[in-house]
């Protein structure tokens, strides 16, 4: 078994969450958003993307942290910093189920 010497500050906390991200229909935006989530320290459990009637995309992701200063609020701000990402927000289980 490999033993990694990791800073205990950034041990995986098992934080799970669901995000709803609205994207403009512009080349590269989807991969930019998904890449940001992974680079900021999260694994995917589920990804679901659908186009809305207004042409934008709804991206629903279920994620789990892999170690790092996990904070879903910060992740949402980092996603909203991307151009052509309209919004990013945490969604509760029930709300997510209703919308999905």
């Amino acid at each position: 078994m490999t033993q990694l010497q990791r800073d205990k500050t950034f041990e995986p906390s098992g934080v799970q969450g669901k995000l709803k991200i609205v994207l403009h229909d512009v080349s590269g935006t989807l991969i930019r958003a998904l890449g940001t989530i992974e680079r900021r320290g999260y694994d995917y459990r589920d990804v679901h993307c659908t186009q809305r009637v207004d042409g934008d995309f709804d991206l629903l992701v279920h994620i789990e942290d892999t170690g790092g200063p996990s904070n879903l609020d910060t992740l949402c701000k980092q996603l909203e910093r991307l151009y052509n990402v309209v919004s990013a927000e945490k969604v509760g289980r029930r709300r997510h189920a209703e919308r999905a």
Partner: protein, 574 residues
């Protein structure tokens, strides 16, 4: 997904009698419209249509560097010296990949630069064609935004948006990847682009400003912790006003140096891994940290959960994603740093004992240059050389540097009156940055003296740019501190790896003065302390480009040093 939104292409403007223009023409004319005057670039197959048109646009000065990485870093130096957006060109494939380090450097240091890469023709994209790489995909993690141009009619709007995005809010690099067929295609059309719709708050909420003022008034041991965002947010004057009105001591990150003059009575110095003792002790003991334009970088904080352990935190940053990212704050002020600093008015802090403690510590730990030089004699003590050079150069001099021990000595021992005086690769820590950044800075600010301080490891990474100095007769002054080693890595091997000096010895370096002369650059070598004064005179008085090669002791280290992963209170010393 489609290539542009319905918002962006609201209308297509067609004017029948307008002459058709190629994508290349539209690109270069759009750059002129954005106020671009200088482009750092290197031609190649896929970007040849652009270079074919370039000579017909006299408003654009093209600087041919000798490697694309040099182009990118020169554009960064230009941007940081001028406060304007830099521009760099490269061709597809290896030209584009050679730009990536510069793109990442601009991203981590929040520098506005637009990078334009040629790309193989659209019908060959995705076929593994000659000199084809997916530069759009490769750079996604290190750009603020990026485009692949699919239609020449998009170019004017796209270029305008690219320059807007690079400079707005927290600045950063933007990439435009231009396929060869799009560069060649002729069009009379122009797609109209809407202004980008995201609106950022102008300044923090008024009740948060009141809360911040209350925290400052209540604090017994308040401290400013400032970073590179001060300069980028044009908040230097407002910061200095607030610091002086509140009479609170200040510490700075590497990139914040110059936001307060180095000799300001309230300035304690740089904090962090190679920070000054007075600065690190102040951070550890303060009860309120007023963070302005800084991001709790690990080189500044050391072990994060031991950083400023007793402090409440006020955090001001234009990038809301930095708030609460690494340290929970008590009050935040997003939006314009300049406006937030101006709005804060808590009055003079009643913390006389704290001030006295901070300033007495600073005095106690002042450098003894003469004593250290006496110990190093007859050799050269590099910190004293840099200290003397900095004070003898004129006040408006810019110092660019590379990465390693000399970078930290510059930060510790040189005098900076303005943030633009100090151009260093802070976030990425890019060896090879100093020389091209220096030539870019000199071209951007020709009226200022520009000095590049480099090391023998770093300069070899972009030494080809000496040819650029000669080609354009750029009067850059280079100080090369040569310890025949990768000094900082060697120091860590000495301290943390039981003196196992693995692959850090460089005593087979070339004769750097001879190398410079081969590039037709004036050069000389200094080996003893008594040659330093004359050498500095010659360096500063020479009109053209010049290199001063200084041999220094390979065993000289940078102190203090906070071991990685440890608290800033655990400073090691000689």
């Amino acid at each position: 997904m489609t290539t542009a939104t319905q918002f962006e292409k609201q209308a297509t403007e067609k004017i029948a009698d307008r002459p058709a223009k190629s994508g290349s023409q539209l690109l270069l004319e759009s750059l002129v419209e954005q106020g671009v005057e200088t482009i750092f670039g290197y031609p190649g197959g896929a970007i040849m249509p652009v270079y074919d048109v370039l000579p017909t646009i006299p408003q654009l000065r093209h600087i041919l560097c000798r490697h694309e990485q040099g182009c990118g870093m020169a554009a960064i130096g230009y941007a940081r010296a001028t406060g304007r957006t830099g521009t760099a060109f490269a061709t597809s494939g290896p030209g584009a990949t050679n730009l990536i380090t510069a793109i990442a450097d601009a991203y981590l240091d929040s520098v506005p630069v637009v990078f334009v890469t040629g790309q193989v023709p659209s019908n060959l994209m995705g076929t593994d064609a000659f000199q084809e790489v997916d530069i759009f995909g490769m750079t996604l993690p290190v750009v603020k935004h990026s485009y692949i141009v699919r239609d020449p009619a998009d170019i004017p709007g796209m270029v305008a948006e690219a320059y807007f995005i690079a400079a707005e809010g927290r600045p950063g690099p933007v990439l435009i990847d231009l396929p060869k067929d799009v560069a060649n295609a002729m069009t009379t059309e122009r797609h109209k682009w809407r202004p980008y719709p995201k609106v950022k708050p102008e300044m923090g909420q008024s009740d948060y400003i009141s809360k911040a003022e209350a925290l400052i008034r209540e604090a017994q041991k308040p401290l400013f912790y400032i970073g590179g965002g001060i300069a980028q947010g044009d908040g230097v004057k407002e910061l200095r006003d607030l610091v002086e009105r509140t009479d609170i001591p200040v510490v700075s990150t590497l990139k914040g140096l110059g936001a307060m003059p180095s000799d300001h009575p309230q300035f304690l110095g740089m904090l962090g891994m190679h920070g000054l003792k007075a600065a690190n002790y102040a951070v550890q003991e303060c009860d309120l940290l007023i963070v302005a334009g800084a991001r709790f970088d690990d080189r500044a904080t050391g072990k994060l959960d031991t950083f400023a352990p007793h402090a409440k935190v006020i955090h001001m940053d234009i990038d809301i994603a930095e708030i609460n990212k690494l340290r929970k704050v008590d009050v935040y002020l997003d939006g314009s740093l300049k406006k937030n600093l101006e709005a804060l008015n808590p009055g003079r802090s009643e913390c006389d004992d704290w001030r006295e403690l901070c300033y007495s510590r600073r005095a106690m730990h002042e450098w003894d240059y003469e004593g250290a030089q006496a110990k190093a004699s007859p050799g050269v003590y590099a910190p004293k050389l840099l200290h003397d050079l900095s004070r003898r150069a004129d006040d408006s001099a810019i110092i660019t540097c590379d990465v390693g021990q000399h970078q930290m000595w510059v930060a510790q021992h040189c005098y900076f009156d303005e943030p633009k005086d100090h151009i260093t690769s802070g976030g990425l820590g890019t060896m090879g940055f100093g020389l091209p950044a220096g030539l870019g800075a000199k071209l951007g600010a020709p009226e200022r003296t520009v000095i590049t301080v480099s090391g023998d490891g770093s300069i070899m990474m972009n030494i080809q740019e000496l040819a650029t100095l000669f080609r354009y007769d750029i009067p850059l002054k280079i100080v090369l501190l040569d310890n025949s080693a990768l000094g900082m890595v060697r120091q860590w091997q000495e301290v943390f790896f039981d003196k196992n000096y693995s692959e850090t010895n460089m005593d087979d370096n070339p004769d750097f003065a001879l190398v410079a002369k081969a590039f037709q650059i004036d050069a000389f070598t200094v080996t003893t302390a008594d040659e330093v004064d004359v050498g500095i005179d010659r360096l500063l008085e020479t009109d053209g480009p010049i290199l001063m090669h200084v041999k220094i002791d390979p065993n000289e280290n940078v102190w203090p040093l906070v071991p990685p992963g440890r608290s800033n209170a655990d400073m090691m010393e000689r």
